[in-house]
Symmetry: none
Amino acid sequence: MGDGSCRFVHILLVEDDVRLGEALQRALQRLSYTVSWLRDGRTALAAMRDRTADLVLLDLGLPGRDGIDVLVEARRAGVETPVLVMTARDGLSSRVDGLDAGADDYLVKPFHVEELAARIRSLNRRMRGLAANRIDVGMLSLDMGTSRVVFRGRTVDLTRREFALLQALMENAGRLVRRESLENSLYGLDHVVGNNALEVLVHSLRRKLDHETIRNVRGFGYMIPRDPK
Amino acid sequence: MGDGSCRFVHILLVEDDVRLGEALQRALQRLSYTVSWLRDGRTALAAMRDRTADLVLLDLGLPGRDGIDVLVEARRAGVETPVLVMTARDGLSSRVDGLDAGADDYLVKPFHVEELAARIRSLNRRMRGLAANRIDVGMLSLDMGTSRVVFRGRTVDLTRREFALLQALMENAGRLVRRESLENSLYGLDHVVGNNALEVLVHSLRRKLDHETIRNVRGFGYMIPRDPK
DNA sequence: GCGCCGCTTAAGCGTTTCATAAGGCGCCTG
DNA sequence: CAGGCGCCTTATGAAACGCTTAAGCGGCGC
């Protein structure tokens, strides 16, 4: 998936709403995750007990406050899989309870896929133990802690979007990142952006770096080669 | 664990709520801390007097304002163990009281486990570095014991919020601190959308210092440079 | 109770950043 | 070789972001 790991990351998606569930599943699969979508608390709990998942994406909006019970139950059973909780904005108390009950992070609906992806990467990194919030590729060095980018020993000032784009590319250094995938992780599921926004962004990023490191693969997307030339 | 220590760190968790207590204990154990979970003020006070703990995690939401009394009592008895206080969002006064009573740091509920871990590491580092509770950065000096701030040799009167903000920035001097991170540590996770409280706070702090030392990084957050030019 | 103080919210303003549109260039295909 | 398609580049208006000032609110001391 991209944060230094080579193996597949398996995500358990617990969401009762069909439309949202479908959308999330698609978005996550596009980000190269393996997704198991479960629609109710009972099967979710069973799946968590199996400990086959690397991360659980749990919707607390399940009917009957089912979600929290699942979480509490699983924790009590000794399941230590990182859990990212999704809550509606109005459900303030449930959000609080969620964190209390043992969630590792939470996300308020509605949210951007960009945000979700960032949280998932963060949780995965933390789980893996390495505080690796730095990526080095060739002459490029990107620090997500300080949001600083150094290129050929020179600090480069990037805007938020540029930073996000570069991060997405560097996390997948050496691999092609599909245009669609980039657009999704930069903008949202909404996807209301025009079709050349990405190109313009790439262009402005290239001007701040150089015009070689970000390569285009015609018809597919972009990539940063791991071994320059 | 990551903050340079090799020995075990023993944390005293004082929390009456069963679910939250369980969750915290598990989370801390997962971070390789040794946790003793106590459910009431009396036993907590006794345990603090033993001085076997390296750090105390104290919930001020205990019934009957028990928590504050425990803290005051322990300090009066000469216990110098670092205390991290957890307060509910509404309990603003109790938070203030907590700091007055001798807490070393506070956390507004609800919070991310990640945030808690960061505070604990910070407290541990501070405790171990014999310079105990003072941070010096450039012309700035901040003393958490006396809550005094000296800037260019001149004592500056700060409010509690301003102090907390400056502390968060100075603890990460030279690194950018994300806006979201600042908001979380100042207000807890429940910040309402569309508020610019942080900017106003930064402004008032700048007026008491100067308009250069606190730098803004557009789209990301704020920072205080370690080596001011 | 009155006024002060600290905090939050709101609104105005300048600056930066971004999405869009539109023209140009190169590559591939027919 | 002509045309289409995908990408690059530039310009421009709109939105986002941050700074500042002012007003409202509650707590606390007088």
